[in-house]
C-alpha cells in the first residue's frame, strides 16, 4: 500500500520549495558565514576598550553561527512561511518527510521521526566519541603522579568539556534515537506530534556541538562542567562559547520534550490507553517533563553568567554584591533533576528488554510508574546535596539529607521491578540482555555510594574527592551508558534490518564491564584516601590506584571501539533479522522493517498491554 502511495503521489517533483536546496553543507556554510559576519560587525561597532569586549565579540560570533546554521539547514523557513501565510502544501510535507530522497534525507531538515532518530544516533556517537577521546587524555595525564601529557590549562579545559560533552551526550543517548525512532510507533502514531519541531530539536543540537568543541579550541577554561562561579566569571573566552552551546542545547531539549509529551498524550492509537503504554513511553514522558522543569535553570544560569562577563552585571561577582552560592543553587536546581532526565529513558528501555528477554510480563507495571513519578517529584527537592560543604544554609542540611535519602526509595523500587521482571524468567541471553545484567551489577554500586554521599558527615569527608567522581561514573557509565548500549542492541534490527553482531558485542561488553569496575573501583579507593578531584597531578600516595584507573579506562575505550566496529560491520552486512527478531509484542515490532514512511498501513487497534508473555 505504501509503495502504491509512493508511485502515486507527485511529492518528489513539486514539494519542498526553498528547502530543496538546503542541507547540512549549506548549514555549515551559513553558520560560518554568519559567524564571521557577526564577528566582523562586533569588531567594527563595539567599543574595543570596554570591559567585556572580547566576551561580547565571542558571544555574538557564537550567535551568528547558530542563526546562520539554522538558516542554512532551513529551520527558519517554517516560521517565515507562517508569518507570510504561505503554509506548507501536502507536497511540501511529503518532501520534508524525506519521501523518495534516499540517503540525502539524512543530511536535511527532514521531519520523518525515523530519520531524526537515526540522525540522533550519529549525533550521540559524535558527542560520546569526542567526550571519550578527552577522557583518554585526562586519564593518560593521570597515569603517573607527575605526568604532563597535557599542560594544566589544557587539562582543565579537557575536564570541563569532557564533562559537558558526556552530559549532553547522555541526555540524548536514549531519548534522542529511540524516543524518536521507536516511540511514535510504540504508541501507534504515524509520526511525532510536531514533526518540524522534531527536526528543529535535532539541528539545534547539531548546531550546539561545534560551539562546545570550539570552546576548547579557544580555551582557558578552569571552571569544570559545573561552571562554578567565580571561576567561570574569570575563565577565558572559551567559556563564552561553552555557555552558548548550553543555551542552544536547552532550546533543543525543550522543543524535544514538548514533542515527546504531546506525542504520547495525543497521538495514541485506538485502544492504546495510558495503562497499556509500553513502559519506555512512560519513562520518556517523565524524563521529558522533568527536563522541561530542569533545563530552564540551565538557560538562566548560563545567561546570567554571560551577562556578568559581557556587560558587567554582578550576579555571581562577590565584589559587586553577587554570590557564587546563587550560581550553585541555580546550577543544581537543574543539575540534580537532570541526572534523572538522563537515567529514566535508559531504565525505561531496559525494562522493555528485561520483559522481552525473560519472556515475562513487566513485574508490577503500576508500581514502576509510581516509582518514576516519585523520582521526578523528589528530584526537584534534593539539589542542595551538592552543596553540603559549601556553607550555604547549614540549617537546611538535615532536610536535604532526608530528601536525598528518600529518593533512593523510588530508585530502589524501579530497580526491584527490574529484578522482579527477570526473577525466575526463562532468560534468553542475547546481547541486549547481557548489557542489562551489566547495568544491574553496576547500578547497585552507583546507587549505594550515592546514599553514602547523602549522609552529611560522610560527605564532609568525601566531597570534592575522587569518590564522588567514581560514584557518578558508576551511574553514568555503568548504568546509563550500559542502558543506552542495551537499547542500541535491542532496536538496531528495527533500524537496519540486521542484528548487531553478537560476538563482537559480547567482546565489547566484557571489555567495558571489566574496564568500568577496574577504573571506578580503583577511583573509589583514590577518593577514600583523600585524592581531590580535578587535579592534574597528585601525590605519590595515589600512584597505584590511578595507574589502575587509567588501565581500566583504556579497556573501556577498547570496548567502545569494538562496539563501534560491530556497529559499522553489522550495519553494512550483519545477519538479517526480519521484522521481529526478539518475538516482542510492542507495536514497533509489528511493522515491517524497514519501517514504511507512515509506519502503519492501517492504524492498529490495541486490546491489551504489550507484556502478555507467557499468557498466550
Amino acid at each position: 500500500m505504501t509503495s502504491t502511495l509512493t508511485s502515486h503521489a507527485p511529492a518528489h517533483t513539486s514539494g519542498g520549495g526553498a528547502l530543496r536546496r538546503l542541507n547540512f553543507v549549506t548549514a555549515l556554510i551559513g553558520g560560518v558565514l554568519f559567524g564571521v559576519l557577526a564577528w566582523w560587525l562586533a569588531h567594527t561597532f563595539l567599543d574595543a576598550g570596554g570591559a567585556g569586549y572580547s566576551d561580547q565579540v565571542t558571544v555574538l560570533t557564537g550567535c551568528g553561527w547558530v542563526v546562520g546554521f539554522l538558516l542554512g539547514i532551513g529551520a527558519l523557513t517554517g516560521p517565515g512561511k507562517w508569518f507570510t501565510g504561505r503554509d506548507q502544501t501536502h507536497a511540501d510535507e511529503m518532501y520534508l518527510a524525506g519521501k523518495d530522497l534516499g540517503r540525502k534525507r539524512y543530511f536535511q531538515y527532514t521531519t520523518d521521526h525515523k530519520v531524526v532518530g537515526v540522525q540522533y544516533i550519529f549525533a550521540t556517537m559524535a558527542l560520546l566519541g569526542t567526550g571519550g577521546i578527552l577522557a583518554m587524555g585526562i586519564r593518560t595525564n593521570l597515569l603517573t603522579p607527575g605526568n604532563h601529557f597535557v599542560n594544566q590549562q589544557v587539562y582543565n579545559g579537557f575536564l570541563g568539556v569532557h564533562g559537558m560533552l558526556m552530559i549532553l551526550g547522555l541526555i540524548v543517548a536514549v531519548a534522542g534515537p529511540w524516543a524518536n525512532f521507536v516511540l511514535p510507533i510504540q504508541v501507534g502514531a504515524r509520526d511525532m506530534a510536531f514533526p518540524r519541531l522534531n527536526a528543529l530539536s535535532l539541528w539545534t543540537l547539531v548546531a550546539a556541538i561545534p560551539l562546545l568543541l570550539g570552546s576548547l579550541a579557544i580555551g582557558a577554561m578552569d571552571m569544570g562542567w559545573v561552571t562554578q562561579a567565580p571561576i567561570a566569571n574569570q575563565a577565558g573566552i572559551g567559556f563564552d562559547l561553552f555557555a552558548m552551546s548550553i543555551i542552544t542545547f536547552t532550546i533543543s531539549t525543550t522543543v524535544a520534550g514538548v514533542n515527546t509529551i504531546c506525542t504520547v498524550l495525543t497521538m495514541r492509537t485506538k485502544g492504546m490507553t495510558m495503562e497499556r503504554l509500553p513502559i519506555f513511553a512512560w519513562a520518556s514522558i517523565f524524563a521529558a517533563g522533568l527536563g522541561l522543569y530542569a533545563f530552564p535553570f540551565f538557560l538562566v544560569v548560563m545567561s546570567l553568567n554571560l551577562a556578568d562577563r559581557m556587560v558587567g552585571t554582578s550576579f555571581f561577582v562577590a565584589s559587586g554584591g553577587g554570590t557564587g552560592w546563587l550560581q550553585e543553587n541555580l546550577f543544581w536546581l537543574m543539575g540534580h533533576p537532570e541526572v534523572y532526565v538522563i537515567l529514566l529513558p535508559a531504565v525505561g528501555a531496559m525494562l522493555e528488554i528485561a520483559s522481552v528477554f525473560s519472556r515475562k510480563p513487566l513485574f508490577s507495571y503500576r508500581t514502576v510508574i509510581g516509582g518514576m513519578a516519585g523520582l521526578c517529584g523528589l528530584s526537584a527537592l534534593v539539589w542542595a546535596h551538592h552543596m553540603f560543604t559549601t556553607g550555604w544554609a547549614p540549617t537546611l542540611g538535615g532536610p536535604f539529607m532526608l530528601t536525598t535519602e528518600l529518593i533512593s526509595i523510588p530508585t530502589g523500587v524501579i530497580f526491584l521491578v527490574m529484578l522482579g521482571t527477570i526473577w525466575r524468567g526463562n532468560i534468553w541471553m542475547r546481547l541486549p540482555m547481557v548489557w542489562v545484567f551489566g547495568f544491574i551489577a553496576n547500578f547497585i554500586v552507583g546507587g549505594i555510594t550515592g546514599i553514602y554521599l547523602s549522609d552529611i558527615p560522610v560527605d564532609n569527608q568525601m566531597h570534592g574527592t575522587m569518590f564522588v567522581v567514581a560514584h557518578f561514573h558508576y551511574v553514568f557509565v555503568g548504568s546509563v551508558l550500559f542502558g543506552a548500549i542495551a537499547a542500541l542492541c535491542y532496536w538496531f534490527p528495527k533500524v537496519t534490518g540486521r542484528y548487531l553482531d553478537e560476538k563482537m558485542g559480547r567482546i565489547s561488553f566484557w571489555l567495558v564491564f571489566i574496564g568500568t569496575h577496574v577504573t571506578f573501583l580503583a577511583m573509589f579507593v583514590s577518593g577514600m584516601r583523600g585524592m581531590p578531584r580535578r587535579y592534574s597531578s597528585y601525590s605519590m600516595l595515589f600512584e597505584h590506584t590511578n595507574f589502575v584507573s587509567t588501565i581500566g579506562a583504556y579497556m573501556i575505550m577498547a570496548g567502545m571501539l569494538v562496539l563501534l566496529g560491530a556497529f559499522i560491520v553489522s550495519w553494512r552486512s550483519g545477519e538479517p533479522s526480519g521484522p521481529n527478531p526478539w518475538n516482542a509484542k510492542s507495536l514497533e515490532w509489528m511493522v515491517p522493517t524497514p519501517v514504511p514512511l507512515e509506519n502503519f498501513e492501517v492504524l492498529p487497534v490495541i486490546t491489551s498491554d504489550p507484556y502478555t508473555y507467557g499468557e498466550a
Binding site: 502511495l5 552585571t313 550576579f315 559587586g320 492504524l603
Partner: protein, 238 residues
Amino acid sequence: MSDLHVEVAAHHEAPEIVDHRQRLGIWLFIGGDVVTTGALIFTYLYLRAVNTNGSWMSVVGLPANGRSASTLQGILDDGGSMIKNIETPLSAGFAWLLVAVLVASVGLYWLGEVRLRSSASGRSAFIALSVLAGIGLIAYIVLSIVQLRQVPQYWRAENDSMLFIYSTYGSCMLALGVSAIIHAIILAFLSFGSATRAAVGVLSHEKWYQARLIRYFSVWVALASVVLTLVVTTLNVN
C-alpha cells in the same frame, strides 16, 4: 486505487484533534517559560535577601553615565578614592505604564480573536486589532529600552582593570528587562504574523482557534509582567 484516497484522507486528522495537540504543546512551552521566569524571580529574591554588605542597591565606584574609564583612572591617580553610591529604585510609575501597554496590546489581540470567532466578517476587525497589538508591543519594546537605560552603571577598579558594573539590583532589572523584551519581540512577531495570515486568508473565521493558541501565550506573558512588576516595585529597597 480508490482505497488509496481513503487512506490519504485518513492521514489528515480532524482539525479539533490537531488543535487539541497544539494547545497541549503551547501549555507545555508556557510551563517551561514559567520555570525560566521563576528562576529569574528566584535570582532577584535571593540577591535581595542576602544583600551582601548592604550591596543590593549600592555600589562602590564612580557613576558611569558618560564618564570614561580614564576619568576613574585620573581620580585614582590623584589619590582620590571611589565613592559609595546609593541607588534609588527605578520609577514604579514607569514600570506600571509598561505593564499597561503590554496588557492593552494583549487585550487588543484577544478582542480580535473574539471578533474572529464570532463571525466571518470579524476577520477584518481581527487584522486591524492584531496590527494594533503589534504596534503596542513595539511601543512596549521601545519603552522597555528607555527603562533599561535608567539602570545606573558604575566604573570601578578591580584587579588592575577598569570594570563597568551594575549593582545586584541593577543586574536583576537588566535581566528581567531583557527577558521582557525577548518575549515582546516574539509576541510582536506572532501578532503581525496573525495579521498577514488573516489578510491572505489562511487564518479565517473557521480557524479562529489558531489565534487562541497565540492568545494563551500572550496572556501568560502579560500575567508574568504583572507579577514581576509587583515583585520589583514592592520588594526592592534594602
